[in-house]
Amino acid sequence: MLKVALKGLLARKLRTALTGFAVVIGVAFVAGTFVFTDTIDASFKDLFERASKGTDVSVQSRLAVEEDFATPPPMDPSTLERVQGVDGVAEAAGFVSADATLLDPDGEVITSGGPPTLLLSDGPERFDPFTYVEGGPPEGADEVVIDKATADEFGWHDGDTVTVAAREPQKQYTVSGIARLGDSDNLAGSRMVLMTLEEAQRVLREDGYHDISVAAASGTSPEELKSRIAAELGNGYTVRTGEEQAEKSAQDLSDALGFIRIALLVFAGVAVLVGGFLIFNTFSVTVAQRSREFALLRTLGASRRQIMNSVLAETLAIGIVASIVGIAFGLLLAPGLRALMAASGIDIGDTSVQLQTRTIIVSLLVGVVATVVSGFVPARRATRVQPVEAMREAVTPGARKVGRIRIAVALVIEAAGVALILFGLLGDPGPASATATVLGFGTLLMIFGLAVLAPTLVRPLSSLIGKPLQRPLGLAGQLARENATRQPQRTAVTASALMIGVALVVLVAIFAAGLRATIDQGIDDQVRAAGIVTHEDGFSPLPTGVTDRLADVDGVTAVSAIRFETGRLKGDTSNTGVTGVDTDTVRDVLTLKWEDGSDDVLGSLGSNGAAVNNEFAEEHDLAIGDSLTFTTPRGDEVSYEVRGIYDSAAGIVGGVLVSNASLESSWDADDIAFALVAGDGDPEAIKSGEETALAEFPTAKPQTIDDFKEEQNNQVNGLVGLIYGLLSLSVIVALLGIVNTLALSVFERTRELGMLRAVGMSRRQVKRMVRGESIITAFIGAILGTVLGIAFAALLSRPLADEGFVFEIPIGTLVAVAILALIAGVVAAIPPARRASRVDVLRAVTTE
């Protein structure tokens, strides 16, 4: 029986290949994701290990409030002396590091979208991990070392001049050397500028150190030295061995990467799901077409179990081969994913490819399980063929009656899915992973519910779509419509595969439209300013010198700085974002809607007043007059009195507002997040004035509020583009499904097609007929998908509605979806239509 199965597969190579391809794509996506994230992981791990070269012990100050990727505050210079005095220390050196900005030869800021430009200070040679391809370390305050990747990009060499800016105004330096770290031409995607310690400290306005590297004297182990130093320094410091430090940094990154990996795997999962539909459909059809063959086998004495195993063996064979091919494609896909993310502004960098055993195993499992599970129901149907059918003319079984029970079952599944999603969103299933699982299941149930209902909808939808087709296509159109409804089950499954992709596209489109509208509305509601000044990259802090320059610009009536800090509210387990406002000027640029209080509250915050939004107030049971105590990142405790409660809404301030003055004094906060500028006259004119005034701070970017809104919208669009890119694979698989189903049904109708051609149907008419079927199927998928997508969006935006999320259905996008469905239908029909029109009339009508 195994031989029968395998021979059968080889006989129908093309069909097998098409079926397998669906799995290949899904598995490639899964494998590609793992390869992609593993590669990043490994390259960063390598980077961190190299960076800690020569470091036996690493000392940093302790962050009272743990936050991923937050830089610990700098340590006092005396710390270094204390460390140097510890027994067993061969050498200790202090380093500073921060984000900085490089300017290109035209004076434009070089941004890399993802990783920042790192400014590092140089140290003693034993701690220097870099390999110099040109020149050497910086000797004086006017020299810097640049990473090789950046130098190659701009054609810089030893002796060239570059401009760097950090907290101090920009300055020009001479390149003293070009460096690499291990195999990487840069720091795994980040650019690097290396300066002498003194210059780095000056430019960052730091007189202390961000970390201290210690080399142990011979005879002292790193662990021993670590405990000694920890004992010496006491509580306010984090002391780790060099290895531990490298591991921790790598771990932090792995965790962040974990999110990306899960997100990508979700998309891969969608592709696999769609592929599963395709496999189910193909096997259903081929089983039906081969019923005579199975009947013959049963007549000859094969048991039902043997038939089942034979079909399952086929699915297993396809699954294994497809998974292997998928893994190979995954290796190709990984750089594709990297390029896709880079195009959307997330540049991860370029490193060698990592194929782990885990990847191979998971990919194989996914591919094989998906194929076998999808083929299971058709396999069981194959066993139900009666031996007597071998004697009858091969007639493709007519459509099974689609009954009431089916509709009822479908509605139940659908309702269960909706219930689960609502529970996940509004109930409290627990930690994020539990919520995600609940939401995931709910989504799957909704998809399956609609897929089960779909056959009942095929007839009415075909009529709906077919009627307009009949005018241009005539008889071909009528036949197309009838053919689509001949086997509603088959058409429904094919359309459902497309439905999934379309639903997600529509969901994303609605959400993006809503997000853009919400952002615009939030800004319109709250912001009274003429312009805003942010950092070039949109999230880094600005040096405070910026506000002084802005005040002098023509037309500016007020400059209000906004700061952000993270603290932990006493009694909370997670951090809270705290927004600082300039109490003198904030009312000129911002207005809020108040539940209890008014904008005047903002003016009178003083050193210990705070305003909170009503969501925060509700969560923490706060009323006017209550006190709030925060632990700052430094470890200090600061208390505030609640003076006002404002409506929570999307906007540019967070849930807790205090004065900038208090942040500066009690939180040791230096930088501002951004500045809002109120002014008279043309905002564009004010913006140019600002640009001139800020010439020395190239990282500061002034914008009008309209510019700002547009930029925010573009960011949403960028993310949406990325998601569409990731969904496109699923859509391609679904289109393959349409091609496949059409090809099978053409094959099935060879005799009929031959007869039509004999009676005088032209080749063109035949092609039109097949094309019509394809368009109808594609449109059914698009309509179902649109309905499902809107339902998803409506559900998912429920909890967000309270935050002011605007629910908008972008008609433009829906029209675009419809047009794309049309094109997809036409394109998918091309191979089957050609095959149909080429049917050998003679062979088709001959009965001998």
């Binding site: 005539g474 036949l479 009508v845 001959t846 001998e848």
Partner: protein, 245 residues
């Protein structure tokens, strides 16, 4: 009775059809020269492998000869490309096959009108009514093939073959799948078409009883015509076949 005074509606000259080449070549037809006048009901017979179906396929423009010519209704088929051949079949020829004649998703009436719909022409209502009466399917017009018996399906096929008043009706074993009663009905229809409507019918069959309905019997054997004579009774046909077997 070959009527030499009327112009032949189908004629062939030295028609040959060879499949394959070299040693494995199969000579299905070895030089057939014959003509069919308008209004004649001819039966083409022969044992298995005689070439009768091949001959019909060539006459109907469903296949191209290896050598020789076929002229149908004054058109030399060799000069026609696929599009033109298709149009010829649509507008000037009618077909009844042994099985799979009808489009399953169309009603009986729609199936009958198929050649006209393909051509984008409207039916002559009177002619349609006449045909429907003749085939006796007035109450079955809205039914789909699956709801019709084998005999009824074949009768629909005959009506379809006649709706556009073709020059020739080709029937390939039209009674092959039918019981004797349905068989007789279909043959009677074809006979009626020839007698009342002046239709030329060329029928390929191995059934002696079916052949007895024809005006002319052509027998093929090994790719050549071995008998070409007038109508015979069923016994007469059987004798003919015995002679060639």
């Amino acid at each position: 009775m070959t009527d030499t005074t009327s112009r032949p509606i189908v004629s062939t000259s030295e028609l040959r059809r060879v499949y394959g080449e070299g040693e494995t070549a199969v000579h299905a037809l070895r030089g057939i020269t014959t003509a069919f006048p308008s209004g004649q009901f001819a039966a083409i017979m022969g044992p298995s492998g005689s070439g009768k179906s091949t001959l019909m396929h060539l006459l109907a423009g469903l296949d191209r000869p290896t050598a020789g010519s076929v002229v149908v209704d004054d058109s030399e088929l060799a000069n026609l490309d696929d599009k033109a051949l298709t149009r010829l079949r649509r507008d000037r020829l009618g077909f009844v096959f042994q099985a799979y004649n009808l489009v399953p998703v169309l009603t009986a009436e729609e199936n009958i009108l198929l050649p006209l719909t393909l051509a984008g022409r409207k039916p002559d209502r009177d002619w349609l009514t006449l045909l429907i009466d003749a085939v006796g399917l007035g109450d079955r017009l809205t039914h789909r093939p699956a709801e019709l018996s084998g005999g009824q399906q074949q009768r629909v096929a005959v009506a379809r073959a006649l709706i556009h008043r073709p020059a020739v009706v080709f029937a390939d074993e039209p009674t092959g799948n039918l019981d004797s009663k349905s068989s007789d009905e279909v043959l009677a229809l074809l006979r009626q078409a020839a007698d009342e409507f002046g239709q030329t019918v060329i029928m390929v069959t191995h059934d002696a009883h079916a052949a007895s309905v024809a005006d002319r019997i052509v027998v093929l054997s090994d790719g050549q015509i071995v008998h070409d004579g007038g109508g015979e009774s069923t016994e007469g046909v059987l004798d003919l076949m015995k002679a060639v077997a």
